[in-house]
Symmetry: none
Subunit: 435 residues, 2 copies
């Protein structure tokens, strides 16, 4: 049986005025998605009767199923039932089942049915009541121009339950639906959407049409989603995932089940697997790397101490950076980054270290070391690597960028990648040496 | 002149799939509202060319102004320009101004224009480019069936700037609209919207009807907006602001001009005025307080060092917390918080200190010190104050809450407030002493 086409009509002045953000339609989409259904079109309108009537007719003429959300309440600006009765050219009538649901609801709360509640029992003639498991307003189903119109409450938790327990079971039974979409989500670091699309175009030009490729830009991890749209595609989903992973190489971070993970979570789980600890010595990021690590529950297993050595004096006092290095090379230099790494490793008795020293701006830069210059030193006591990058961004963005790159460099060392990351290729910088 | 009718078309598979919630249209509504304009109708569609073309024609035939949001990016599913060219029955052509904006954008980031970026310079013939102040994708304006179609980027901060700096000035000039309201914005810490509304109802019951009171919940600062809706109200705006400030007492942080300031900015500017330096000793916040301070440009003037002492050993090694205190009282205790504060003050040679030690959870709590217990110690060498709070929230939220409270306690000491903050009244906690 063919899948039904579905549209959603959201109503409410508060949605138009920007007073609230609509999260209901995302919830509807997610629930439909479990049955392989999707929303083709959403319209949002204020509480204006004539406009609602017009739109209901227009939408009903275009689609098999219309889900109307909002406007079932007891107040004068709740217009859904009235607008539908007008669109259907029928009357509103007191619906006995709706009335009984409302009475039960009021009884359970020890209150009396009032005039305003009674309004909620007035539905277009011929409607079927849909049970509201967690609120007073009954939902209802009616027919308009051959379209099934499901009217649902605006309160999110009432909508959620009504969809899951009443509406989706009805639709899936009517159309004999089963979940047939399969999805794989991966996280990628160090490649933007544009760059990745380019790589795929250049290297995987035979990408199958029935595996949809979706990107969701995140900070700092890009989420890549593969969705098989047919039964045949499902069997080749793994194959194309593997080809994509090969292409991504060390830019590929992980395949995830559900919600996105933080880069620090991936680093901490590698550290825990390898039974290693890490410490941080931060100048330009001022504690942000330590903060990203300790934001993760269980980080104390791998992280004992971090040093925020913002001034030169404190680099010497806290992690024994020799004064003469600071004088000779300046705080933003390879020798100082190395000395910070070594000092922090020793003081914290840790296995691995991240040290960063740079110029976050907007002031402090010079011709030889412009704003955005940063030296990173990272690794183990036996293998500290260094890299200078130029990241000429706004202060806050620069700090997060540096912190994320630092975590990614540790991740790459933990998975023993020898590859040069894309951001190093693009951003490597060689400050001019002073005499 | 009559006000224009406005509709909004939001595009993107991610909006239809429920992967993201649309907050852009609320932002558009709020910006329009400042000029007395509103959105009459919103439609949301996935990335399907034929469907987009149809909808564009349908909407353009109904309204004076159509704001299209999303679909300006470099990937194949970004279809706005193509769909408009089809709807207009014209060609896509490389737009020199768009290309020049894209080149400048790439140059500033030290990257090359690639094939994908070039796509972003292809606009329907006859379009006018709209400057994107904070992203790569140029916006554009074109005419369809007598309707002005403004095409805007989906990235929220890019959209926000483009609306405020480019599109709304154009529309308001064309239709001779004025932002006829006068507005005062204040920042408040430690009071929620509901509590503040209650305080106003109880104490300022004669609040004038023509001064609108608006709240914008922020983290961590609540923004309170007074808007005079009439000329008469403008003259009494200052008076009512002063009454509100008196009522708020030390919960009032500052009156701001334009964009909200961070709490750390207020603290740093007080420190600079008083020529004082600060240091941090952080356990449960793991560097977050240092990070919030150093995120602010110019923080190096007042901040030299921060200690992230996550383990007990490192509290002793880095800031000389006596081992016996840790053994006798545990890490989350008043004596340890005090010793952390004193140790950090000495090591960093700073004038002021924030020290925090607590249980961020979700594990680690006990009956006597449940998850969310935190000891704070703050002040100057001569005057270190302490407080225990119970903030039983999720880990990340707990960490930010503690960091913000710590900054606010320092702010209060700097303005010499003797008042007990609302959050201390509500959250003060006394752990049961061990024997």
């Amino acid at each position: 049986m063919k899948k039904p086409s579905i549209q959603v009509l959201l109503t409410g002045n508060e949605l138009m005025a920007g007073d609230i953000v609509d999260s209901n339609s995302a919830m509807i989409a997610q629930q439909l998605n479990e049955y392989g259904l999707s929303i083709a079109r959403k319209v949002t309108l204020g509480d204006d009767l004539a406009v609602l009537v017009n739109e209901l007719k227009h939408m009903a003429s275009q689609t098999d199923i219309l889900i109307v959300n909002g406007g079932l309440g007891p107040t004068v600006d709740d217009l859904t039932a009235l607008a539908l009765s007008k669109a259907m050219a029928t009357e509103l009538a007191e619906h006995p089942e709706a009335l009984s649901q409302l009475s039960t609801w009021c009884q359970q709360r020890g209150s009396e049915l009032n005039q305003a509640n009674l309004k909620q029992a007035l539905l277009p003639k011929g409607s079927t009541v849909i049970k509201n498991h967690s609120g007073s307003a009954p939902g209802f189903l009616c027919q308009l121009l051959g379209c099934q119109v499901y009217c649902t409450p605006g309160v999110p938790h009432e909508l959620e339950t009504m969809l899951a327990k009443e509406i989706l079971p009805q639709i899936s039974q009517q159309y004999s639906l089963q979940a047939d979409k399969q999805t794989i989500k991966m996280q990628v670091f160090g490649l933007g959407e544009a760059k990745l699309q380019q790589m795929i175009d250049d290297n995987l030009s035979h990408w199958p049409q029935d595996i949809e490729l979706g990107f969701r830009a995140g900070t700092p991890l890009l989420e890549v989603k593969l969705t098989s749209k047919t039964k045949i595609a499902q069997s080749s989903l793994d194959h194309w995932q593997q080809r994509l992973i090969s292409l991504l190489s060390a830019h590929y971070v992980a395949t995830i089940n559900d919600k996105p993970l933080e880069l620090a979570e991936h680093v901490l789980s590698l550290l825990q697997q390898q039974n290693l600890t890490i410490t941080t010595a931060e100048s330009c990021t001022g504690g942000l790397i330590a903060s990203k690590l300790t934001e993760i529950s269980g980080s104390s297993q791998s992280f004992e101490a971090g040093f925020v050595t913002y001034s030169n004096n404190m680099k010497t006092a806290m992690i024994s950076v020799p004064e003469e290095l600071l004088i000779e090379h300046g705080a933003v230099s390879e020798p100082v980054a190395l000395a910070m790494a070594e000092g922090a490793l020793t003081k914290a008795k840790a296995d691995m270290v991240i040290a960063v020293t740079g110029i976050a701006g907007p002031s402090g830069g010079s011709a030889e070391k412009p704003n955005g210059t940063v030296w990173l030193a990272w690794g183990t006591a036996n293998n500290v690597q260094t890299q200078c990058l130029l990241l000429p961004f706004k202060r806050k963005y620069f700090q997060h960028y540096v912190a994320n790159i630092a975590l990614d460099l540790i991740r790459r060392q933990l998975i023993q990648s020898k590859e040069t990351p894309n951001y190093v290729k693009e951003r490597a910088f060689k400050p001019i040496k002073r005499n």
